[in-house]
Symmetry: C2
Subunit: 339 residues, 2 copies
């Protein structure tokens, strides 16, 4: 591997000057710059980033930490973020964690390695943040999880109002004439974090407001946010309560599983069973039938997160906690029940 010293020797200048060329410092003679750049190009020299970051207290990059790739919705947000960063000419690194890893510990590790100017967490567990985030000092943003209760002044959050969104989803079923409603997804023991809690809470609130009977025994099947789990839970629920005419799935992935489950239980969607999902992933627009959903605005979630972070990275501003509007998307999967 070539080092800056080799370039210095080859070009006849000192390491200091070479370094100044690499980092585009202004006070270098244009002719000198040209010569050195030529040598750098010839040799294919790449400065050792470790030496660089060791010396520099901070790097120019921003790191996005994503927890759980299996979530299609996160993918979309991530793509939008990449776009937004690119528009702002920012360098980004993405780190993927699986469910078992601790996002805050990983973040600490990253801070010591990459010295990012800012951090974005896509998904996360509120308790973990409450416990460990204090030691992270760079401006950060938490996306899809509300951090306003946590009160860290360097942690913004951008979320969808899931309670309200869930209300509208179930409200959609109710307005379509459904009275026997089931819910699939999440868990009663809050391990899934805010998402399932809030969506479940919103759903229950609107049901009780309309005095529609709901019990966890009869109208609910818990499951993780995946196709397979949605399918299994869907079958379970439809078996134990075949009268249900409308199901609110806590995520689109679950909804897709439920639609298939209905089919395998001899029910047709939407003729025998209406289904509405949550998130607005791309699949639901292409499935047959198109599945109704509450579309979270991935683009805005991403855009606002990036904007806020870049702002706070450059200027001292207070962290913000913002709700991004959602849209209820009608779909072929919800109609008025037959009887």
């Amino acid at each position: 591997m070539k080092t800056i010293k080799d370039i210095a020797r080859l070009s006849g200048f000192s390491t200091g000057t070479v370094s100044r060329v690499i980092n585009n410092h202004p006070d270098v003679n244009p002719e000198t710059r040209r010569k050195i750049e030529e040598i750098i190009a010839e040799t294919g020299f790449q400065p050792n980033a470790n030496a660089k970051f060791l010396k520099q207290t901070i790097s120019s990059t921003i790191t996005v930490i994503v927890k759980g790739i299996q979530n299609s919705f996160f993918e979309t947000i991530l793509e939008e973020m990449q776009k937004a960063f690119k528009e702002n000419g920012e360098e980004v690194t993405v780190v993927f964690l699986d469910e078992a890893e601790n996002e805050v510990t990983a973040a600490k590790q990253i801070c010591s390695t990459r010295k990012p100017r800012g951090l974005i967490f896509l998904g996360g567990n509120t308790k973990e943040f409450a416990k460990n985030f204090a030691s992270i000092t760079v401006p950060s943003v938490l996306v899809t999880v509300d951090a306003s209760q946590l009160g860290f002044e360097n942690l913004s959050s951008f979320t969808t109002d899931d309670i309200s969104g869930a209300k509208e989803a179930v409200g959609y079923l109710i307005r379509s004439g459904h009275r026997k409603i089931g819910i699939v997804g999440g868990s009663l023991e809050e391990t899934n974090g805010q998402l399932s809690t809030f969506r479940l809470q919103g759903a229950q609130e609107i049901l009780s407001r309309h005095q529609i009977p709901f019990s966890f025994e009869e109208n609910y099947a818990p499951c993780r946010f995946s196709l397979e789990d949605g399918y299994m839970a869907g079958r379970e629920l439809l078996r134990k309560n075949p009268d249900i005419t409308g199901i609110f799935a806590l995520s689109d992935l679950i909804a897709i599983g439920v639609v298939r489950a209905a089919r395998d239980e001899g029910k047709r969607v939407p003729e025998d069973l209406s289904v509405i999902g949550y998130d607005g992933i791309e699949y639901v627009r292409y499935s047959v039938p198109r599945i109704a959903t509450v579309r979270q605005d991935a683009a805005q979630l991403a855009k606002r997160s990036v904007e806020d972070l870049l702002m706070r990275v450059s200027y001292t501003r207070a962290a913000v906690h913002e709700k991004i509007p959602y849209t209820v998307i009608a779909g072929e999967s919800v109609i008025h029940p037959k009887n």
Copy 2:
């Protein structure tokens, strides 16, 4: 930020001893180790990874470079890889690149920064590799793209035999009685790399072997590997050639789009149109109808890649180029054409 010197001072030992504790060197007095570890825990000290990698010629981690997250199939492979690495107690870093970025350039950058022991490329462009890979010296594996032609002795590859797989996919349609067959996906100008080339080639070969007419004008619609593009191309093909009874989609994502396109063109799948995809992503098992596909063995692809890499990282072995068996999965989306 605390440094190793702080720990040395606080514990009364030297930096050398502290370093040995951190790196689990055997020749440290257990009592000393305990004391130092206590201080480390108290202070929350994290060693500066840049300093570490600057000094060390090589790190313990392995880096996976993924190009294009929008590809569901890659996600599955990635998950399987994470599993396989975990089983072997290996530390992994995943880096995501978007389509526009150059994987080999990124890899060079990573090598200079993280000094990985090995590299896995998930997806990639053969030409790029041919041109730039020479400067990468760590053991590497290229997954889903055949590198046997490239002849780098530190680059293995694990792939599915796409030519043969595509033959079987189309063969399945033919055996089911289809004679008017369309193909959706890829492009004629090889920009999509090997995948579309091989799959297209296999499809054409079996069609001509059965003397089934095929022309790019009448039986083909090119498109990128996404839902939306599959949908658009599907509609285009069905409009320009409504007689087609069976479609081979070059990927499952495209197949899903085609199924929806058929519906919107007034055709039902499978009654009016049979569709078979490629890859075997999870979704096709839950869609209505279940979509027939050629299932690539993501788990094996991942497992063998990881095994081979770990082997070559520790011992000097020649790179290998291995084909992983695929499975044709029957699905509700393919039946005998009506007339």
